[in-house]
């Protein structure tokens, strides 16, 4: 093709005039020949590229623009600390979902502008048997069991003065719960006592006594508490997980260590969680990783970390504000406002000094 055009073009060019300088003519023809070589090279290049493009499109389906995805489930599979099945082997209920109609802003007709939504999601941190404070907190948020979905974020009982009263009250008003480390201990004792009477260690007698005083109904209610309560698709905010202590970012729920969900405070550099305080706060890591994501954010609401107090970050909400030690009892509230957006709010009450 390229050769043909140059041949066709040649007769159109004016015939070379015999000039005074005979050396000029061969120089001109040499340069035009070099130009056509460059043209030919360019053409061949374009052809080669488009051939490769067409070839790779037919082979690979033309979706090379999409970067390969490392992450999500694939990464979960590759994470070494796969302890899938521990929660199953220990007999825990892993996760329960909040029904869609109870999630604020997700009513049947959606939230229209200027109307708001009467559904609220209320999460209360470590109550530890502080019955009076729990009641005054519910009064302060004007709790209504019809429209509010109340979740107690673990450590409802133990340590405090009126564990059983809190338990009965929570059952009466239809509260929901997640399993905390203290529920876990008390229930393990409870089942041990149910099975047989064993001589036990003195240091355990406080927990053991509480476990002994549980009625079958109370124990069943506690036993049904899952490790995680999940609210999916909260409008504008994404997914919400409610746990007692924490979660390791990037690991699917099934693969999380169930005991760590109830006890963790920090992570080490292998991402192994620990209840000790000498590592990176898991919430810090969670926020760091969550900020990198462009969509589908997950927020974790938790308790357990009293030393940090009320710890509200963008994607984690720490609610243990140390009620048992005379500080405050806090509630985290999600509510759809008049503009149709779901907003968060924190309400807390002062606690009497019980421990220390």
């Amino acid at each position: 093709m390229a050769q043909k055009t140059t041949h066709g073009l040649l007769p159109l060019l004016p015939p070379p005039t015999t000039s005074q300088s005979p050396t000029a003519a061969p120089a001109a023809s040499r340069s035009s020949r070099a130009f056509s070589k460059i043209k030919f090279g360019l053409l061949a290049g374009v052809l080669a590229i488009s051939t490769f493009w067409a070839y790779s499109c037919s082979v690979g389906g033309c979706n090379h623009g999409e970067a390969p995805v490392f992450g999500g489930d694939e990464w979960e599979d590759d994470y070494a600390g796969v302890n899938e099945g521990i929660s199953g082997r220990l007999g825990y209920t892993l996760v329960k979902d909040i029904p869609a109609e109870s999630i604020p802003g997700r009513g049947k007709r959606g939230v229209k502008k200027g109307e708001g939504d009467d559904k609220r999601l209320i999460i209360v941190g470590d109550i530890h048997g502080m019955f009076d404070e729990f009641q005054s907190l519910l009064d302060k948020v004007s709790y209504d069991s019809e429209s509010d979905y109340l979740v107690l974020a673990g450590d409802i009982i133990s340590k405090g003065p009126d564990s059983l009263a809190v338990l009965d009250f929570a059952r009466k008003i239809g509260a929901h719960c997640v399993r905390g480390n203290h529920e876990d201990r008390i229930l393990l004792h409870y089942h041990d006592i149910q099975r047989r009477k064993r001589k036990h260690h003195l240091a355990l007698s406080v927990e053991r006594k509480l476990a002994k005083s549980l009625s079958k109904k109370q124990a069943e209610w506690l036993d049904a508490c899952p490790l995680v309560v999940r609210a999916e698709k909260v409008p504008g905010l994404g997914q919400y997980y409610i746990v007692h202590a924490g979660l390791v970012h990037g690991i699917g729920l099934r693969r999380q260590d169930p005991v760590a969900i109830m006890t963790m405070r920090t992570l080490n550099h292998h991402l192994v969680p620990s209840p000790k305080q000498n590592g990176m706060h898991w919430a810090k890591y969670w926020n760091k990783m969550e900020r990198r994501e462009t969509h589908g954010h997950t927020t974790v609401v938790y308790g357990h970390y009293a030393a940090e107090g009320l710890d509200i970050r963008r994607y984690t909400k720490g609610l243990d504000s140390g009620c048992i030690r005379g500080r405050r009892l806090s509630a985290y509230i999600l509510k759809a406002n008049k503009g149709g957006r779901v907003e968060e709010d924190i309400v807390s009450v002062k606690c009497r000094e019980y421990l220390d």
């Binding site: 090379h64 590759d78 355990l204």
Partner: protein
């Protein structure tokens, strides 16, 4: 054993030499008599060792029942049935026991024995240990597997030195044993007790300097191990991290085995170093094999990628 005999011979020789009271000043002879006098009273505690292993071979067989070294499959089969038998028997008899150390690590990964483990570890409280010492010592227990195909017999042997709750000379750190009488493989049973109730209340020790807080052990958790009901300590993950470092919960290649993420088992892998070789490589970071086996995509695809991204 041979070494000990040789040493005793030397000691005897030396005492003869010293009693003769002719000690030559030159030569190595002058060195020998001196260790003799402190050595003599120490020879007695040496004999307090109750459980004897075949140290010349591997140290994993009880001397009394040892017949031959078992191979990989036979060992795993022996250990699996042995631990099932132990857990079922103790549950039936109401003996409170829980799995520990390497066996607990195996539970963490997949609820099974770690295939490179040679002996299994279980623990119990010192009170329980005394009780089984009184009531079950030297009892033999018959076991039939669930499918009825395997029949075994085990001996529960309690160390008469269990009253000694400290490590002492290190000869009796194992308090009891559950021995397969066919080949001498065994489960180590150790008791834990509050050794210093005044200065360290609620701190429990086993004789091998493992230390636990009461609340880390109790309340025990109910679970299954090798398919039968078992108990594990309350804070199993913290105990594991203390004993084996957090790496043990992360590393997926160990002692000639690789963790299979699909089947959740440790599979034999020839390319993973084991034994002495692994010791040698311990300080080197080994790149996991699978990153090399990623498909390159072929020549044309790579040329395309070059042009496209360029």
């Amino acid at each position: 054993m041979q070494l000990r005999k040789a040493l005793l011979g030397l000691v005897a020789l030396a005492s003869v030499v010293s009693s003769a009271a002719v000690i030559p000043r030159d030569g190595g002879g002058g060195k020998l008599p001196r260790p003799v006098s402190p050595k003599k009273p120490r020879r007695e505690p040496e004999d307090t060792k109750y459980f004897r292993e075949n140290t010349d071979l591997t140290g994993h067989y009880d001397e009394r029942f040892f017949s031959e070294i078992v191979d990989y499959d036979a060992r795993l089969d022996t250990l699996k049935h042995m631990v099932r038998a132990w857990l079922l028997t103790t549950a039936k008899e109401g003996i409170e026991t829980w799995i520990a150390h390497g066996t607990l690590l195996g539970w963490w990964w997949n609820g099974q024995i770690l295939p490179w483990d040679w002996d299994l570890d279980v623990q119990m409280s010192a009170d329980t240990l005394t009780m089984i010492g009184n009531e079950y010592n030297m009892t033999r227990h018959k076991y039939v597997s669930e499918d009825g195909l395997v029949e075994r017999e085990y001996l529960l042997d309690v160390n008469p030195w269990i009253w000694q709750r400290v490590r002492g000379d290190g000869m009796n750190v194992i308090d009891a044993r559950w021995v397969d009488v066919r080949n001498g493989l065994y489960i180590d049973i150790t008791g834990i007790a509050e050794t210093q109730p005044d200065s360290m209340p609620d701190i429990l020790n086993c004789k091998n300097y493992h230390r636990y807080h009461v609340n880390d052990i109790w309340p025990l958790r109910d679970t299954t191990f090798e398919g039968v009901p078992a108990k594990i300590p309350y804070s199993f993950d913290e105990i594991l991290i203390t004993e084996y470092r957090a790496k043990a919960l992360v590393v997926t290649e160990y002692e000639g085995h690789r963790w299979n993420t699909k089947s959740k088992t440790w599979d034999l892998a020839n390319d993973v170093p084991a034994g002495a070789e692994a010791e040698q490589l311990k300080n080197h970071v080994r790149e996991p094999e699978r990153y090399y086996s990623v498909e390159s995509g072929g020549f044309f695809y790579n040329v395309f990628r070059l042009l496209h991204w360029w």
